[in-house]
Amino acid sequence: MIRLIGSKVFWRGILIFNAVSVLLPVFFLINSSLRSSVDFAKNPMALAWHPYWQNFSQVWQNGDFANFLKNSLIITVGSLVVILAFGVGAGFVLGRYQFRGQNFILGFILTAMLIPAKLMILPLFIQLKWMHLLDSHLGLILVYASGSLPAAIFILSGFFRALPADLDNAARIDGASEGQMIRKVLIPLVRPGLAIVTIYAAIPIWNDFFLPLVFLQTPAKKTIMQGLTIFFGEYGSQWGVLFAGLMIASLPLIALYLVLSEQFIKGLTAGAVKG
């Protein structure tokens, strides 16, 4: 037994077992989305030898679904634009300038990072109502931006700080203004940081369920993850259609993960790495 645990075969076996447990449910999801509901009810484990694409067209014809996807896209991209634009600016200043009050600002941002978003949902709800930002995509975008900005600023300021100081001076001697220097010289050099921040922020926002549940009330404004709960109520036991809905909702991230898995892993674990 002890011999066995010491051997590479044992550990490789563990990895293969893990891969199967991870991929089997995903395969089940993909496979079932390509089978008719009647077929699925007969035998949930049969393979989709003859793909039944009608599930997907049926989801697509349900106009709401496309609308939910569009809403999620608007909210995710909108939040990213705010996070990157504001985050790059603040990250640059905190990473490259030295000024009085810097520690105070860092402390302010660090404190904001430690506040659990779920627990201030009530005052936010009332505040957004008062600002006429309740039940609006913009309101949600600002709340998401506020939630992700502290960590984004920390990550980006680290990247800006790591660039050699001579870069700025060289650009300045060449007659570049501060704005030009940031846009043309520094931003291209912190691109890996931008990628990490993008993934760090985008995935939880795309996947989020709680804030849209509370802040969006008009059905036409809801996001895809909420749409799925409506969808599951509507299509009861039309298994094929339900699976197709789940597939469509997860496809964007699966596709991106297959291309950018390294960046995903770095981005999603960025918050856990000691700063």
Binding site: G6, A19, M45, I109, S146, I153, E178, N207, S250, F264
Partner: protein, 306 residues
């Protein structure tokens, strides 16, 4: 002269670039965080604030009928933390060590192990709901076909199995996260220690127990604290699979679900109780905040210098 111009330009730049980010954080995080504390000390009717209430909301939270709900939910959160912590952390270390040892195909296995983390809990929840469906799901179909009918349970529908099943689904979705943290921890350990021990004739098991595991303490701190916070704010999965009252029959109720019901009403009672909800919010915040702070302090004390 030129230097002064640069300084002025930089000052202006600093203000222009910092202001939007700081204003957003102030408006949508800092201010609501401070007001959330004050809410617990007022009477509320609907979303309208009434007179000052002192500690009345807290005392109502700790009396009938809210007290029983609170204690049941708290117990579930504790069970979930212990369950997730023991299973997920052990498996995470196990998998990280396997990835650490096996270099060929490591990239593939690492990518696969982390894969479920990118899925929304809504998608994970619904997919597993169908997989575990008592009539149409493949799991019970399998048990019936091998004549183990006694194992074909109503996994999410029975009070006894619902919470463990949710913990299992959570495990499937999350285990890649501690795995990656522990793998990063293992990779950060200098190979000198391991080689020196090997020259001294230490077995692989001894190397793991005496060298690698103790040096993983910083990763352990991070994983423990994040698991603790996650367990006490557990909301999405129980909501998607059990509804806002933690079905079946409250078997999967959590503090966050109770907080949501008190704040925004539920199917059973349309009226909300913002005062008591906020009091519960403060209590959750204290549990998470104090637990994480003292937990981190204690765990950091155990870390050895490497």
């Amino acid at each position: 002269m030129a230097k002064q111009g640069l300084k002025r330009q930089q000052n202006r730049m600093a203000v222009i670039l910092l202001a939007p980010a700081l204003a957003t954080i102030l408006l949508f995080t800092t201010i609501p965080a401070f007001t959330t504390l004050s809410y617990a000390f007022f009477h509320w009717s609907g979303f309208k604030r009434g007179s000052f209430a002192g500690f009345e909301n807290f005392s109502r939270l700790f009396h009938f009928p809210f007290r029983d709900q609170f204690l049941i939910a708290l117990r579930h959160n504790l069970l979930v933390f212990v369950g997730i912590f023991t299973i997920q952390t052990t498996l995470g270390i196990f998998l990280a060590y396997a990835l650490f040892k096996i270099k060929r195909g490591q990239r593939f296995h690492r990518t696969v192990a982390f894969f479920p983390v990118i899925f929304s809990l809504v998608i994970v929840g619904y997919t597993w709901q169908i997989i575990l469906n008592p009539f149409f799901g493949p799991v019970n179909y399998f048990f019936h076909s091998v004549h183990l009918d006694s194992l074909a349970l109503t996994w999410l529908g029975e009070t006894k199995t619902a919470l463990p099943t949710l913990v299992f689904i959570n495990l499937w979705r999350w285990v890649g996260f501690p795995t990656i943290i522990f793998l990063a921890g293992l990779n950060a350990i200098s190979s000198d220690y391991v080689e020196a021990a090997r020259i001294d004739g230490a077995s692989e098991g001894q190397i793991f127990r005496k060298i690698l595991f103790p040096l993983l303490a910083p990763s352990m701190t991070i994983v423990t604290i994040l698991t603790f916070i996650g367990a006490f704010e557990w909301f999405d999965l129980p909501y998607v699979l059990g509804g806002s009252s933690g079905g079946p029959a409250g078997a999967t109720d959590t503090l966050a679900l109770m907080f949501y019901r008190l704040s925004f009403g539920s199917v059973d009672s349309i009226a909300n109780e913002i005062g008591i909800g906020s009091a519960l919010g403060v209590v959750i915040f204290l549990i998470v905040g104090l637990g994480a702070t003292f937990g981190a302090k204690w765990l950091r004390g155990r870390e050895v210098e490497a």
